[in-house]
């Protein structure tokens, strides 16, 4: 049996070696890892306006993604009254944290893409609950601020092949293109994921069989999430 002294010394030595070397490695890789993460998030945002980019998001290099964001993307933050928040950029807002705040105190990220042909796309971020965990996504609006130009969803833990289809199956987000978030009277309607198939071709999309809860989560997320931007949207329109 070893003495306690030997055991303590051994553990102290091995933990200090491990701690120092891992900290060193982390420091070395930190900046690149942060860049990778931000490019990953930027790609997710761009994928909502995939159809309007010069090439699909999947074919863009990391450098091209960065260029698009620095040259063509306005990164703003809006508050719940629809005013722009000064001194913040969209990437600083973490919707997961904002969801925990009281509604009136939240701020929202807003990306505005200025296409080469002069068109503008307003990209809103939404977040909600799926079946197992959180789901989130981006909704790109056309210049008229009521037609959806594209959406992209992601999730933390939906069932592969069922709920995860909101991300994995490109035909699901593709359905949202061209849908309207306001009806003809100008009332806010959002877009509904309809179980059993869309009935209203302007405001509904087909659900995913076997993933009703996730689909309802998407409906709810869009309904609330886009409404948060309404004060801003109505100001921007006038």
């Amino acid at each position: 049996m070893e003495s306690t002294g030997k055991i303590v010394t051994f553990i102290l030595i091995i933990t200090s070696i491990v701690a120092v070397s891992l900290t060193g490695l982390r420091e070395l890789t930190k900046s690149q890892a942060a860049i990778n993460e931000s490019v990953f998030n930027k790609r997710a945002i761009l994928s909502a306006i995939d159809k309007y980019l010069d090439k699909p998001t999947a074919q863009l290099t990391d450098a091209e993604v960065q260029t698009i964001f620095s040259e063509r993307m306005e990164q703003k933050v809006v508050d719940m009254d629809g005013n722009l928040v000064d001194g913040m950029t969209a990437a600083q807002v973490d919707l997961a944290k904002e969801r925990k705040k009281p509604e009136a105190e939240r701020v929202l990220p807003l990306y505005i893409y200025n296409a080469t042909d002069g068109n503008k796309f307003y990209i809103l971020s939404v977040r909600g609950n799926g079946l197992w965990d959180e789901i989130w996504g981006v909704v790109a609006l056309q210049d008229d601020l009521k037609t959806i130009a594209g959406v992209a969803f992601d999730h933390a833990g939906e069932t592969p092949g069922l709920g995860a289809e909101i991300k994995d199956n490109p035909t699901f987000p593709a359905q949202f293109r061209g849908k309207k978030i306001y009806d003809e009277q100008g009332e806010y309607t959002s877009v509904v994921v309809r179980k059993g198939g869309a009935r209203d071709k302007n405001h509904e999309v087909d659900g995913i069989s076997g993933a009703t809860v996730t689909a309802d989560g998407v409906t709810e997320m869009l309904k609330r999430g886009i409404r948060y931007y309404e004060p801003y949207l109505s100001k921007a329109k006038s």
Partner: protein, 242 residues
């Protein structure tokens, strides 16, 4: 057995070839006769979880090979210094730090894959194969052999992982490594953000519709079961005579 192996190796052994018959056996045995997944039935959890697509399975295999190899090496180097009463803690420290290295490296090299594997990289720490080899082999053998043994077991694990993933991806998604193989459209193939997937033989069996069960972890259980059955019917050494 442990004590014998540590004390009774005379210095003469140093002259053995660097990669002799014993090393070869250590490397090849886990691929078939003593496979960690199909024979020892270890490391099942991650084999079920990450094998729905081939690409992440390959990354996972490489990660596990790295961790089993180097944790065996370091444990073996330290085996005469590790106090017996805290040896499991010492082994865990070694495994956990190597897994952290893998995690940092993935974040640095390929962030999308890191996101896809998410918690499963961290869970390599709890993979029984790693700790099993440390306890059973590395604590009682010289560093080089322990390293080869670790690599061999990692390879055995990886081989099964990739086999399962190939079956699951083809029948669950109609693709292989993201390239369209069977079934009608293969738009789904662009599952890796960095890969611009082109459909290859997308219309080969256009009537085939993807099997959703194959995408779920339960399908991996069936595939592993079939693999074990096949292996046991062909490998004479594994046939249970009793």
């Amino acid at each position: 057995m442990a004590d014998v192996a540590v004390k009774d190796k005379p210095k003469v052994q140093e002259r053995e070839p660097l990669f002799g018959a014993k090393e070869k056996k250590l490397l090849v045995d886990p691929l078939n006769d003593n496979n960690p997944i199909t024979v020892q039935v270890l490391g099942i959890c991650s084999a079920l979880a990450v094998t729905s697509l081939v690409a992440p399975s390959i990354v996972m295999s490489v990660a596990v090979i790295f961790v089993t190899g180097f944790s065996s090496l370091f444990t073996s180097l330290l085996r005469n210094y590790i106090p017996k009463s805290v040896r499991l803690i010492a082994q865990l420290i070694i495994i956990a730090s190597l897994v952290t290295v893998v995690e940092l490296a993935l974040k640095y090299l390929n962030y999308p894959i890191y996101r896809q594997l998410s918690v499963y990289i961290g869970l390599i720490i709890t993979n029984c194969i790693v700790m099993g080899r440390l306890e059973a082999f590395a604590m009682a053998n010289k560093p080089w052999r322990a390293f080869v043994d670790g690599i061999g077991n990692g390879l055995g694990y990886g081989a099964i992982l990739i086999l399962i993933a190939i079956v699951r991806e083809i029948f669950g998604k109609g693709t292989l490594l993201g390239f369209g193989l069977i079934g009608p459209s293969n738009e789904q193939a662009s599952y890796l953000i960095n890969t611009a997937a082109e459909s290859g033989f997308g219309s080969l069996f256009a009537w085939y519709s993807n099997n959703n069960l194959m995408v779920l972890p339960a399908a991996a259980m069936f595939v592993i079961g079939i693999l074990i059955w096949l292996q046991r019917s062909y490998n004479q050494k594994l046939i249970d005579i009793s």
